[in-house]
Amino acid sequence: MYTQALNARDTEAGAVEDADRVAAFQARVDAEEKIEPNDWMPEGYRKTLVRQISQHAHSEIVGMLPEGNWISRAPTLKRKAALLAKVQDEGGHGLYLYSAAETLGVSREELTEQLLSGKAKYSSIFNYPTLTWADIGAIGWLVDGAAIMNQIPLCRCSFGPYSRAMIRVCKEESFHQRQGYELLLEMVRSSKEQKEMVQDALNRWWWPSLMMFGPSDTDSKHSAQSMAWKIKRFTNDELRQKFIDATVPQAHYLGLTIPDDKLAFNEESGHWEFGEIDWDEFMRVVAGNGPCNRERLAARNKAHADGAWVREAALAYSQKRADRREAARHAAE
């Protein structure tokens, strides 16, 4: 899914670590061996992964909110079933990822706390609102499309549990993108008004989708270490270009106009050239001041607080049953 955390890294890496161990570790990574949770690893590698995987997980969880907004208003039973399944998948993807992060020695409770307190980040894209039904299609097509571009190389990430979780996620993600595109196709074919609604959704989601790949390579200071550790396989700009090249023809097939007057195909390079991304907007949203940042965090906090009695009751029930088993054993002795 959503991997902007790839662009940040803990900086205290390798300060006091044994140079031989670090070299042996790097040799294993260079040989494309997978690193497993109990293996020795540099502290910076561990911290980078904990943050990246957990932010990826948080993005899946928060990502349920903008789409969940439309479940009760889906236009047909088919679309409602698809949207429910998709949102359930996002929840599942969050859990695969939390499970991978926990192998690095951090607890689920800590990770949840970091999300709820606002300490941890999640993908900036989920701080935009879903205003019309076309937004649901646009999210599947663009947001999941961008996520897939990011996640396919993560299947080859050097950390075993992350790579295995990504393989599962990628297998499931393709349905997300296809249902979104199909939904939009149906809309653009039905009426002028619906086609306009789709164009409006594209206008609003296009640029934030491009921002999902993170800052430009010239401004992304931490890429090199993540690339050396084989956590990251392509740079932000490489992935963004791949996404644009794949997506522009799909927009044209829908009969839509990409909201970028600089967009032009370069025959020589075979790539689509595009205009300047509004990095001020990106920084504003990442800093917590996007259209829905506060609403998203409030919704997660409310869900967590409202579910407290369920967690308590489940544990109380387990305790009661364990006590009864214990009492029965004593009685039998």
Binding site: Y96, E109, R311
Partner: protein, 95 residues
């Protein structure tokens, strides 16, 4: 943290192809029954499995990766355990 932590379980699934149960991740749950239900919801949404095992994560005893040389070296030197160690004339045919 005021709340008690919910125990962690490792999840193993036997796929429909008749393979052995294979580790696929973990879930948090209060007891074994809830762990099984959570594992079903999280790891088998598309008919991936016909059978699930859940094991309390704390109960798993793992070998130490730092000792993998001592642990597994003895098998590396015993090449006579492999069929190719033995020479059979070609005339004998496949064996």
């Amino acid at each position: 943290m005021t709340e008690k932590t919910t125990p962690l379980w490792e999840v193993f699934i036997r796929s429909r192809t008749g393979m052995a149960h294979r580790h696929c991740g973990s879930v948090h749950a209060g007891d074994a029954e809830m762990a099984l239900q959570a594992a079903r919801d999280v790891y088998t949404r598309r008919g991936e499995g016909l059978s699930i095992w859940v094991v309390p994560s704390a109960e798993i005893i793992a070998s130490d990766p730092a000792q993998k040389d001592e642990m597994f070296e003895p098998t590396a030197s015993k090449i006579y355990r492999h069929p190719t160690f033995y020479e059979i004339p070609e005339e004998v045919g496949n064996m």
